[in-house]
């Protein structure tokens, strides 16, 4: 019996994020859990990836703490150079970024993202910070991965405001709008989702240990597509958890459960 405590839901989330990354890729990371996932990949199975940040920091040497902001010095620690913001996003547009991670207040069944407003601008329920780099990453990157906690009101059938394009109305509507690439996955505390190739609707790909299709559906405000065979994510190996807990996020800033 292992004496390493099993992964908590946030650690599972970070682990699943890290598995999206292949070695040698160029990875565009947003603030928070995406950074943890990127760092974990770099410390485990994907040692030769290059991290890129929207403030212009890129290819930093590993630092002594998790970056607390996409403009933090750990995003440009001993970097060969820093990019201006317009050029940093240009790297996504011209094909120098393989995969990007981003959060959001709402994700819908086609992977569209809302970081702008709950309700509408004429009838405000709550106002969110705004796009920031979200629209740019979702519009320009070849493969994007959406990251967040899965709850029914955060996973509505249709986002209240479409800040960042996923597959828009589904089918070929993203392509028709003039956009390349698109979201390949959604990673939550419940598991990992992908998008059915024809309809572009969100579909269960694999569930975290202890999760069921029923739980996944209860956490979702629309009908999830369910494949014939449900895969379960194997628990992270002890050595990966130890890297996550001791090296990547030793103070548990991002992966400790609130109140724990």
């Amino acid at each position: 019996m292992s004496n390493v405590a099993p992964a908590n839901p946030l650690e599972m989330l970070a682990y699943n994020l890290s598995l999206m990354i292949e070695d040698n890729q160029i990875v565009y990371v947003g603030t928070g859990l995406p950074m943890v996932g990127g760092m974990l990949a770099k410390k485990t199975h994907a040692k030769n990836i290059t991290l890129v940040f929207e403030s212009g920091g890129q290819d930093p040497l590993d630092g002594c703490d998790v970056p607390w902001s996409v403009g933090c010095p750990f995003t440009f620690r001993k970097s060969p150079m820093s990019m201006e913001m317009s050029i940093s996003f240009g790297q996504c547009a011209v094909g120098y970024v393989d995969i990007a991670f981003q959060g959001g207040a709402q994700f819908d069944m086609y992977g569209n993202v809302n970081t702008s407003v709950i309700g509408s601008y004429d009838n405000l329920k709550s106002i969110l910070p705004g796009s920031g780099g979200s629209n740019d990453i979702g519009s320009l990157t070849e493969k994007s991965v959406l990251v967040g906690l899965q709850l029914p009101d955060r996973f509505p059938e249709r986002v209240d405001f479409l800040t960042t394009p996923g597959y828009l109305e589904g089918g070929d509507s993203r392509e028709k709008a003039g956009l390349y690439g698109g979201p390949i996955a959604v990673v939550t505390q419940v598991g990992v989702y992908d998008f059915e190739p024809e309809s572009k609707r969100m579909r269960i790909k694999a569930l975290n240990p202890g999760m069921t299709v029923e739980i996944a559906q209860m956490c979702t405000g629309f009908e999830l597509l369910v494949p014939d065979e449900i895969h379960m994510v194997p628990p992270p190996p002890d050595e990966v958890l130890e890297v996550l807990r001791n090296v990547v996020d030793p103070r548990g800033v991002f992966t400790k459960m609130p109140g724990a």
């Binding site: 630092g63 403009g71 201006e84 913001m85 317009s86 547009a93 705004g130 519009s139 320009l140 003039g178």
Partner: protein, 349 residues
């Protein structure tokens, strides 16, 4: 999106290519000593009704101490723009700013800005247009390049376009695919303040670390104020041939050590995490808190030295220097701890 506080002229001025060009043509060309005090620079070059562009990255090399002086001088009717633009929150709280071209206001993982949300909800300020970081960055870059617009692959297919009267989607008339593109006009704010590590007396300015949009904004804005950690001899910049911003863009040069504090300045000091957590988690929560917080930290301070004294003095600023050097790998980081408990600290008045 209404126009409660903004004239059509203010809305048009942001994209007035000819107007910005004419303004730049009339600027004093003499390579002269532009040094002055912070209060003189703000008084002279930030005017009521200006379209005001934020620089840096909210809390990274942002000219925060100069922003505080704008609040103290009670400038009125500013329109905010910038990507990001998180410091606009306290301009709105203190009645300096009534309109925004919005990209992002918040402190990332630290939390949403409830002051900004409340002000927009109460219609005490209005949103004139919505942008992503990248599209606004392209608007500033277009201005720097002298290009009337740039075609981008952003904003397509979204609700953002419906809330942005400046951009336009067309089928690419010059590409092989004739695919939809989004035209982003060159953006010309009236004024920006840029905090740099080094400048000479004429305004040649050196940025270390990410430049964000500041090189583009220096060219785009009608008026530019430089605040600098150090004023160096012109020959230092010539020897290194590393100016990011040329003197001719610049109207005023202010020697202002710690001018980006309580944000960070690469090569100099780390941010004051506690201050930002206070602001976002306590300060912005109610109108009264916001006024009390900004009274304490802005209205009742006189400048960076006074601010630092209030924040804990020499011990705090020297720790900020050591953390930045460790973070950037310019000091031996093995004995420097980044341990930090996210606490809700007591706010001593």
């Amino acid at each position: 999106m209404g126009h409660l506080y903004t004239s059509d002229e203010q809305i048009d001025r942001l994209v007035d290519f000819k107007g910005a060009r004419d303004f730049h043509l009339k600027k004093d060309r003499r390579k002269r000593d532009k040094r002055m005090s912070l209060s003189e620079a703000i008084d002279q070059f930030v005017q009521d009704g200006d379209i005001f562009a934020e620089t840096g990255f909210s809390y990274v090399r942002s000219p925060i101490q100069a922003y505080f002086e704008i609040v103290r001088q009670q400038k009125k009717n500013l329109t905010g723009i910038g990507s990001p633009m998180s410091n606009c929150s306290y301009f709105m709280a203190r009645g300096c700013m009534k309109a925004l071209h919005l990209s992002y206001i918040g402190v990332e993982m630290r939390g949403n800005d409830k002051n900004f949300a409340r002000i927009i909800k109460n219609k005490d300020a209005e949103l004139l247009s919505l942008w992503s970081h990248g599209t606004m960055a392209l608007g500033f870059k277009a201005a720097q390049l002298g290009a009337p617009f740039i075609a981008s692959k952003q904003l397509l297919g979204t609700d953002m376009i419906k809330q942005n009267p400046y951009v336009k989607v067309i089928d690419n008339p010059v590409g092989i695919d004739h695919d939809p593109v989004c035209l982003i006009p060159a953006l010309f704010p009236d004024v920006c303040i840029i905090h740099v590590q080094q400048a000479d007396r004429y305004g040649n300015a050196v940025i270390s670390g990410p430049a964000i949009n500041d090189i583009a904004l220096a060219a785009a804005c009608r008026k530019v104020i430089i605040t600098a950690e150090r004023i160096v001899p012109e020959m230092t910049i010539r020897d290194n041939s590393n100016a990011s911003i040329p003197f001719m863009y610049v109207d005023a040069v202010v020697e202002l050590p710690y001018g980006a504090y309580p944000g960070s300045c690469p090569g100099h000091y780390y941010w004051n995490r506690e201050w930002w957590e206070f602001l976002i988690r306590i300060g912005t929560v109610t109108y009264e808190n916001m006024i009390e917080f900004t009274d304490h930290w802005i209205m009742n301070t006189t400048g960076p030295y006074d601010f630092i004294d209030k924040a804990g003095g020499m011990a705090v600023i020297d720790k900020a220097r050591r953390l930045m050097e460790a973070a950037q790998g310019t000091a031996d980081d093995s004995a420097i701890s980044f341990d930090y408990q996210e606490v809700i600290p007591k706010w001593d008045k």
